[in-house]
Amino acid sequence: MDLSTTYMGLELRNPLVPSASPLSADVDVVKRLEDAGAAAIVMYSLFEEQIERDKQELDYFLTTYAESYSEALSYFPEPHEFRNLNAEAYLEQIVKLKEAVDIPVIASLNGVSPGGWIYFARQIEEAGADGLELNIYYIPTDPDLTADDVEQMYLGDLLQVKSTISIPVALKLSPYFTAFANMARKLDKAGVDALVLFNRFYQPDVDLATREVVPNLELSNSYEIRLPLRWMAILHDEIKASLAATSGVHTAQDVLKLIMAGADVAMLASALLKEGPGLIERILQNMQLWMEEHFFESVSEMKGSMSLLSVAEPAALLRANYIKTLGSVRKSGWE
């Protein structure tokens, strides 16, 4: 059985890739993921904003009360050096992972400034990452910002990074684009090596007891693959870049569906956080069982077999849910 696939130019032994999550912070866990069959690893995200914020806060709190009072001209030791002010630990983790595992290591970067994207992309490449996923975690809340401004910003960030480094670059996107297919094509033309669909934003909640807005992250469930599933199917035949499906991948069935829709890889995080690295092995076994039962010999054979151009009822992929649901109800004999 040939499970291999190609993703952003990287030859992978199968289409299962753990996406950015805290799991990659632990080398031993990544080794276990590799042993369980993970084909590559996307590291946790390096957040430029967090790094800058940490530096600002550190500078503020280390200096703000200094030189005010005669008995205490400072309140903190002056470290000889900061070894991790500029994400050095992240870069070291790339090196450690590269040493520890044979599968490709894809770094993940969330930048905020033009300089930040370039600086960190270069550092990540130098540290030895096999690829870079740009995690554009951005909610355009400014009413003055047009859709075109937003699209140009994405394209600009991508072009800057692409012109800076030579390792493949993936872009992890939110689905909140007015014309997503068009956006995907623009990014494809701009040279993106893969699109990772989609980012799950932290959606804030309201705590009724305290009447405070609280950050909230619920782990995904299988239902959530529906959104990437559709876009895998739509984009598979449209763009050259690889496609990674993320959100809601929990079972072999999820993976199979996504591959058939057109995904080159399926990415998992919530399921691994819940069930541990061994899940990958189980999914792979179940995938193979299903493929055997259905006489598939390779992933490549299956890939895109249910894409927009391959599927019997393309309208089902294109229409909004409302119509499709009514149709289903009708078929089932309710009317």
């Binding site: 940490d54 806060e57 009072y69 470290p79």
Partner: protein, 1182 residues
């Protein structure tokens, strides 16, 4: 060899050599010597080697006594060892110093000489500490300047090895230890040549080792002790010569020649000063000036004070001298004269030369009192007088014992070709750090000599700094504050009202003001006094709106580089373009590692600063007469002590005569209320409609500026129009009771804690609470009036309040108010609570530290009293003895109470059996009972006043002790966990009824963030720069093991009700009580407005489990051990990484941070397990 000059202060200069020439450094933090240890620790942490290529081991001990013991042991086992200390610290080292000297052990102790506490503590400089050490057998070498602090550190190190006599190398605290000077550093090869390895080996050869066993430190009997004590004399005889040889060798290597007694002045001087320390620099400078003016005067700078070489002194005194004034920077009450005077007198008397010299002894400069050229001229005038005073003081006006000599205050020798700048700023605005940076820029880029000295006030919130900067082509020896400034900058508009900023400005000087007003309007807003001075002194005025520039550049309220740029632009000390590029370079160096954003924003600000800078021409029509009239109208006078305190507040304490000050250090309380510091920009505003009257805001207010009163409606008749009140909520209040929450607008620091703790949210807009911050200025007048009215309302009857609830306890009047503690301080709310509950019968022993500074540093004290004149009595003895000091209070009170009770029994018939019996059986367990007992005592007093028997008089003087007294022993973790632990342990074990409150900030806060044994695992602190690798000592459980000690661990921000309960139970318990209170602190590295939230996180994470152990319940009904918090509910990292003290380690050494976090999390889990087991065990036991 050309050596680049560097800029540093005296502490760094001395530590520079000490570090390079030692292998072990054992220290304990104490102002002003702490930076020497901190530098050493930083160098050691960075792996910097000494001259032998190894990295010295730096160890922080639990006290100076401990440090001296460790030094002694380290020396005895052969390591080159040193320590740094001052003042009380040196006194704690004395016992070991006798031993070290008696054993002829080479070492140098470097001392930033500081006043020893007498009638008051003082952190400032004089020689009272080192003079107390002159019996120890240590040699004593005095440095007078920053350069000498480095040079003599090396000379003393060489000489101690050569002589085997240990050395005290000392220099003046603050004046030298903290003064920045451009100096020539001693190159490592010179240090190498000065330190003879054979002598180092010889020291090591004498070490105790099992490979060559011997004993030392024996006990000796009358038969031989005396002879043995004399056996070392030869070493002392040779010592001065060895020092001089070291000085000569040093001169050969560096070109800087020193002598044991250094003569400066006219070769045929007739009048002479002899002195040591920084004052000698001013003396030399003044003498050069006087000699140039034709006067035959001179001075001898004493370098080596012990062993005192009389022959070297005599040969340094010119033959022409007729009169000598010996100046001591110390006081030895009751002696014939001070130590140096006595030595000089003996030397002159014992010399073979029969010279007719008049010898005077003078005291000067105690506690960093200024010592100026004018005073020196005054002393020479005294020497020339027909009948000079044999003993005198100089620098003060002694109108009591008439000891002081007069001098012409305006005599100045400050040269014309010198820049002298005064910079007024706030601690928080970065003025000092910018000035330090300017000094370094000017030092590095010009041939100028430079000097920087910084005056801080003793407030921790809104503290004012005054920087004194001198630059000029000639070496700067002026060891006194600037008297004639040619440049004055005021970085804070509000300081113009508070300080006479042009008082030191010379004619034609420049004044730079940071103003919120446009250049064409600013004149209108200047204080009249300032306008007058600008006219009279022909001042050139410049203004800049630095806050606006900073805001636009995204720098928030960081104005330091903006003001620095304006200074360089105006002062023209170096070409502006060059200055600008240097400032940019220093910004890049300072912030380079921390991020481009700061660099860019600062660069933007620099450009904008020069554009915003404007010269202002004073309007010609301003009438000087009118201005003078308006100033005169503004003056007002108050009561005597208040007027004295006001003078100190205004920075004019130096002008007070001796008669103005109490002779024994005793002051009235309740004086902070006169300060009205007005430091808040925003104050809380009460929304009475939605307030639920929970009292939490008043409870957490660190400055007692949020007050609550409940009162009858009738009082509202006279209320000011904006005074707010509502019906008191809850069935416990009588009908028609009104309730008010009032802010003291001029005392509030704007810390926001009250807003943060407020649990109420506005229904329409959840961002609003029942207290909301609003700009102060528009509210000020109305709120001042409301505050005055609030104060006029009666206090609620204490006996009718349920004080075991937060809600009602907060109606009690706090008797600790308006302290100068940091805005948002985590300690003061606990102290304030204690005063609300027990203040009218409270006596407090306060360990040295933050709480003794905000509690008792002149000019005022926050400790207050109620309308009946009752309130806490407070004292600070020392750092190390606080528990014992408080126990002393208890013993006396118990003794007096027992005597009073005995006298009541004896006088039962005379005072009436009923009254006597009632007095004796009163249980005084609650406020109502205590009130009744006070009334009985009043009746008793009334009866006693008509009686004349000795017993009646005795009882009259002791009757107040029949009312229960509450003894509180208060201090920080440095005291309780470290230096005072032995005493604390003993006091708690004594079984006596004392209440110990440990304000646990988990670090030495007052001296600047050094590790204590309360510092948690994984936190960074000074001396734990790589993260503390051992856990926090569990003081609570240690003391709990006694079984009869009430112990509570509290955190007001996490559970305020538990805090109130713990205080009440602890006080009620008739035995020793210990409350360990989590106190958030600026040394934790986050905004203090989040302090309460962090307290919650500390408890939720399990770092700070809350409990109470009440021994009263151990053998009866109920559970003695109550857990008041649940087990860990959030990961430890969710608590600790909100604080820079922890988070910085993730940036310094992420791997270690991770490892320590895991260890700390394990520790927290284990701690919770132990608490559960303990709870089970103790509650089962009953």
């Amino acid at each position: 060899m050309a050596v680049n000059k560097v800029t540093m202060d005296g502490n760094q200069a001395a530590a520079y050599v000490a570090y390079r020439t030692n292998e072990v450094i054992a220290i304990y933090p104490i102002t002003p010597a702490s930076p020497m240890g901190e530098h050493s620790d930083a160098w050691s942490a960075a792996g910097q080697p000494n001259i032998w290529g190894n990295v010295p081991t730096v160890i922080e001990m639990q006290s100076e006594g401990g440090a001296a013991g460790a030094v002694h042991g380290s020396l005895q086992s052969g390591a080159m060892t040193t320590t740094f200390t001052a003042s009380q610290g040196l006194l704690l080292m004395l016992p070991n110093m006798y031993k070290i000297a008696g054993e002829l052990t080479p070492t140098v102790f470097h001392i930033a000489a500081r006043t020893v506490a007498t009638h008051a503590l003082s952190i400032f400089g004089d020689h009272s500490d080192v003079m107390a050490a002159r019996m120890t057998g240590f040699a004593m070498l005095a440095s007078n300047s920053v350069q000498e602090a480095m040079d003599f550190a090396l000379i003393s190190q060489a000489a101690t090895l050569g002589s085997r006599v240990p050395f005290l190398h000392f220099f003046d605290g603050f004046r030298t230890s903290h003064e920045l000077q451009k100096i020539t550093p001693v190159p490592d090869d010179v240090i190498r040549k000065m330190i003879d390895d054979d002598l180092v080996f010889a020291h090591r050869q004498r070490a105790l080792t099992s490979d060559n066993p011997l004993i030392r430190g024996t006990a000796q009997n009358p038969d031989v002790f005396f002879q043995a004590r004399e056996a070392g004399n030869a070493f002392y005889e040779k010592c001065p010569m060895i020092v001089q040889e070291a000085m000569n060798q040093f001169a050969a290597l560096t070109g800087r020649q020193y002598h044991l007694f250094e003569y400066v002045g006219h070769p045929q001087a007739e009048h002479l000063l002899i002195l040591m320390g920084s004052g000698a620099e001013t003396a030399e400078e003044t003498i050069h000036h006087l000699v140039d003016a034709g006067e035959k005067v001179g001075a001898i700078k004493v370098r080596l004070f012990r062993p005192f070489s009389a022959s070297a002194l005599m040969s340094a005194i010119p033959k022409t001298v007729k009169g000598i004034a010996v100046l001591d920077r110390t006081k030895e009450p009751g002696s014939v004269g001070e130590p140096l005077y006595n030595d000089v007198l003996s030397a002159v008397h014992e010399s073979n030369e029969k010279r007719n010299i008049t010898l005077l002894g003078g005291r000067y400069g105690l506690s960093s009192k200024e010592f100026t050229p004018a005073m020196i001229k005054g002393i020479f005038a005294e020497l020339e007088a027909a009948e000079p005073r044999r003993h005198f003081t100089v620098g003060i006006r002694d109108d009591v014992s008439q000891s002081s000599i007069d001098f012409e205050n305006d005599f100045s020798i400050e040269p014309e070709n010198q820049f002298r700048g005064l910079f007024y700023g706030l601690g928080s605005d970065g003025t000092v750090s910018a000035n330090k940076n300017s000094i370094k820029i000017i030092s590095a880029n010009t041939e100028n000599y430079t000097q920087g000295y910084f005056v801080y006030d003793s407030k921790k919130s809104g503290s004012v700094t005054i920087s004194h900067l001198r630059f000029g082509p000639a070496p700067i020896q002026s060891s006194y504050l600037i008297q004639k400034a040619n440049f004055v900058a005021c970085h804070q508009w509000q300081l113009l009202e508070r300080f006479d900023v042009l008082a030191q400005a010379e004619r034609g000087a420049t004044l730079l003001i940071n103003t919120p007003y446009p250049e064409d309007e600013v004149w209108e807003y200047l204080p009249a006094r300032l306008k007058l001075d600008i006219h009279k002194k022909d001042i050139k005025l410049y203004v800049v709106d630095a806050y606006s520039v900073a805001g636009k550049a995204g720098l928030g309220r960081r104005i330091n580089t903006i003001m620095q740029t304006c200074f360089f632009k105006i002062a023209g000390i170096l070409p502006f373009d060059e200055a600008l590029s240097e400032i940019k370079e220093s910004i890049r160096r300072s912030y380079g590692q921390k991020g481009d954003w700061l660099i860019e924003r600062n660069y933007l600000a620099l450009e904008a600063a020069t554009e915003g800078l404007a010269a202002v021409t004073p309007p010609a029509e301003a009438s000087i007469d009118e201005l003078e009239a308006s100033i005169a109208n503004g003056r007002q006078d108050n009561g005597e002590i208040e007027s004295i305190l006001r003078q100190i507040i205004a920075g004019k304490g130096d002008d007070l005569p001796v008669s103005a000050l109490p002779c024994d250090g005793t002051f009235p309380t309740a004086t902070a209320q006169i300060e009205k510091r007005n430091i808040a920009r925003e104050i809380p505003v009460w929304d009475q409609e939605i307030c639920i009257q929970c009292g939490k805001c008043a409870m957490v207010c660190p400055h007692a500026v949020i007050r609550i009163k409940a009162f009858e409606e009738d009082y509202l008749e006279d209320a000011p129009p904006t005074f707010k009140s509502v019906q008191a909520r809850g069935k416990d209040w009588p009908e028609e009771t009104h309730y008010n929450i009032q802010v003291a607008p001029e005392d509030c620091t704007g810390c926001r804690l009250c807003v943060e703790v407020c649990p109420v949210k506005n229904k329409q807009k959840t961002a609003l609470k029942a207290l909301n911050m609003a700009p102060k200025d528009p509210l000020l007048d109305a709120e001042k009036e409301n505050w005055e009215f609030f104060l006029s309302l009666p206090e609620y009857d204490r006996s009718r309040l349920k004080i075991n609830s937060v809600k009602e306890s907060q109606v009690l009047q706090p008797l600790f108010e308006f302290s100068g503690a940091c805005a948002g301080c985590g300690e003061t709310p606990y102290i304030k609570l204690a005063t609300q509950l027990f203040g009218d019968r409270m006596i407090v022993a306060n360990a040295t530290g933050c709480s003794s500074i905000y509690g008792g540093n002149l000019p005022t004290t926050p400790w207050a009293k109620n309308k009946n004149g009752l309130g806490p009595a407070w004292s600070n003895s020392l750092f190390e003895d606080n528990a014992e000091f408080g126990l002393g209070f208890r013993v006396t009170i118990d003794k007096f109470e027992a005597q009073a009770r005995q006298l009541v029994r004896m006088l039962m018939t005379d005072i009436g059996e009923h009254l006597g019996h009632e007095l004796l059986i009163a249980d005084q367990s609650d406020e109502a009972e205590i009130f009744s007992q006070r009334q009985r005592v009043a009746v008793l007093r009334d009866k006693l006043s008509a009686m004349s028997s000795p017993e009646a008089q005795q009882l009259s003087s002791l009757a107040d002790y029949l009312v229960k007294k509450s003894v509180w022993i208060i201090g920080g973790d440095g005291w309780a966990y470290d230096i005072g632990f032995g005493g604390l342990d003993h006091v708690l074990a004594s079984g006596r009824n004392v209440n110990v409150l440990v304000l646990d900030t988990e670090v030495y806060s007052n001296t600047g963030g050094q590790m204590s044994k309360a510092t948690p695992l994984g936190a960074t602190a000074k001396f734990a720069a790589g993260g503390k690798s051992s856990g926090k000592k569990d003081l609570a459980f240690q003391m709990l093991s006694y079984g009869n000690v009430y112990v509570a661990r509290v955190a007001m921000g996490a559970n305020d009700t538990q805090t109130v309960k713990a205080f009440l139970e602890a006080e009620r318990y008739d035995g020793p009580s210990l409350i360990i209170a989590y106190s958030h602190c600026i040394a934790h590295g986050y905004g203090m407005e989040d302090g309460l939230r962090q307290q919650q996180a500390a408890v939720k994470s399990g770092h700070w489990p809350l409990f109470r152990y009440n021994p009263e319940l151990a053998n009866g009904e109920g559970k003695p051990f109550i857990m008041d918090s649940r087990g860990p509910q959030i990961p430890l990292e969710d608590y600790i990484y909100n604080e820079a003290r922890y988070k910085m380690l993730t940036k310094i050494d992420p791997a270690k941070a991770k490892q320590l976090l895991e260890k700390a999390q394990d520790g927290v889990n284990r701690q919770w397990d132990i608490h559960q087991r303990m709870s089970h065990l103790l509650n089962e036991e009953k």
